[in-house]
């Protein structure tokens, strides 16, 4: 009797057991793999994020010093590249701009292996077009940094060359007699918005007062000079336009005497 009862019970439980098996099977064949898959993808995203963060960090650490100078009377160029950072740096391209015409040097044999930390590579005798020219050099690394040459821009003639100092305008103001000179010099770039105002107060003994004003770009600059003897910007005594070029990077402006 007991045996029959247990058999009945077991028969009536088969469907429940089957249902439970299906539930477990569904859980293990669909929900668990979905969870693992999503987890893997999230891990992949995080790994990529971390890798790119590291890449950007390495990029920010890159530091090169580039020095370019002409040889053979300006018909060729030597370029020295020194790696100042702790990473191996691979230079993928060198850009040489000659009078606004661009030349791209790639697959340079001496740069194929990259530049080890605290070492230097030289690219010797890069040919340049003849004649008077302005040359700018910059190098691009595999991590996406661009380093301009410290001698940019080079102004080369057949006889000489010069790496430009910062552009300046020197104002020479004549003064008839010895004494104090008080002037306001205003310089404005005729292009993008840039201007500078300089107050000049000098005791003049030798008939001239001087002041130099640094300017940032090649191009035309408007100069206005006021005499301040009777008050700030009392008399506008001089206006002129001065051109800054690579050939004349530091022009002088003569201001006649003002009574």
């Amino acid at each position: 009797m007991i045996h029959i009862r247990s058999l009945k019970r077991s028969k009536s439980g088969i469907a429940s057991v089957l249902g439970m098996i299906f539930l477990v099977a569904i859980a293990f064949t669909t929900i668990v793999p979905l969870f693992l898959y999503v987890n893997n993808i999230n891990n992949l995203y995080n790994q990529t994020d971390e890798a790119m963060r590291e890449f950007d960090h390495d990029r920010s650490l890159e530091s090169l010093t580039v020095l370019a100078y002409p040889i053979q009377n300006g018909s060729a160029l030597n370029i020295h590249i020194r790696n100042k950072c702790s990473l191996n740096v691979k230079v993928v391209r060198i850009w040489i701009t000659v009078n606004e015409a661009c030349y791209m040097l790639t697959n340079i044999p001496s740069l194929e292996s990259g530049i080890s930390p605290a070492t230097e590579r030289a690219i010797i005798g890069v040919a340049l077009p003849p004649g008077e020219k302005t040359v700018k050099v910059k190098v691009t690394t595999s991590r996406g940094n661009v380093f301009p040459s410290e001698t940019n821009p080079l102004y080369i003639t057949e006889q000489s060359w010069a790496a430009e100092e910062p552009f300046t305008i020197t104002v020479v103001m004549a003064h008839q007699k010895s004494g104090w000179i008080r002037r306001t010099v205003y310089v404005e770039y005729l292009g993008v918005r840039w201007n500078n105002t300089v107050e000049v107060t000098q005791l003049v003994h030798e008939a001239y007062a001087y002041t130099s004003i640094g300017v940032p770009f090649v191009g035309d600059y408007k100069i206005l000079i006021w005499d301040n003897k009777l008050g700030y910007q009392h008399d506008l005594i001089f206006t002129d336009t001065v051109a800054i070029t690579y050939a004349v990077p530091a022009p002088w402006v003569y201001v006649p005497s003002w009574p």
């Binding site: 009536s12 669909t30 606004e100």
Partner: protein, 153 residues
């Protein structure tokens, strides 16, 4: 004897009932399993597509490497823009040239730049003059943007 037959008949009906119940469970269970399997497969694909877009977007690295202007007239010329893809994947870019907030040149071809390579884009510009400040905007089809500025020499 009669009792045992009756008892057996009852047993048969309960067995048939149990078989029917098991069949129902099997049918419904199989259907539920098939549905859940299909649904999770769909969700997996869908999730991967969404995350992979973000992963590829994270991997993009590009910059305006060089810009040059060749004047062709008093107020016109061609602007050359070199875009360097230094990331690990290929990118597709649209390039815009802006002046005073307005677009004066654009390349909407979605040109592909393969990884670790540079691509040149040329724009013929009119009504351009010395000292004009241009903004070059490079936008990938995945939505990353990079800018550079250039002053006409």
């Amino acid at each position: 004897m009669g009792r045992s037959v009756l008892g057996n008949k009852r047993a048969i009906s309960s067995v048939i009932g149990e078989i029917l119940l098991c069949t129902c469970v099997l049918t419904v269970g199989t259907a539920a399993w098939a549905f859940s399997h299909g649904y999770t497969s769909y969700e997996m694909t869908n999730y991967w597509q969404k995350v992979s877009v973000n992963i590829y977007s994270l991997k993009e690295r590009f910059m305006v490497e060089n810009v040059a202007f060749n004047p062709t007239g008093i107020s016109s010329g061609s602007l050359h823009v070199w875009v360097y893809n230094y990331g690990g994947i290929n990118i597709q870019v649209n390039v815009f040239v802006l002046r005073n907030g307005g677009v004066i040149g654009q390349d909407l071809s979605g040109a592909t730049i393969t990884r670790n390579s540079v691509a040149e884009f040329t724009f013929n510009l009119d009504q351009i003059s010395v000292s004009n400040e241009l903004i070059i905007k490079v936008e990938t089809l995945r939505g990353n943007v990079n800018y550079d500025s250039y002053t006409i020499p």
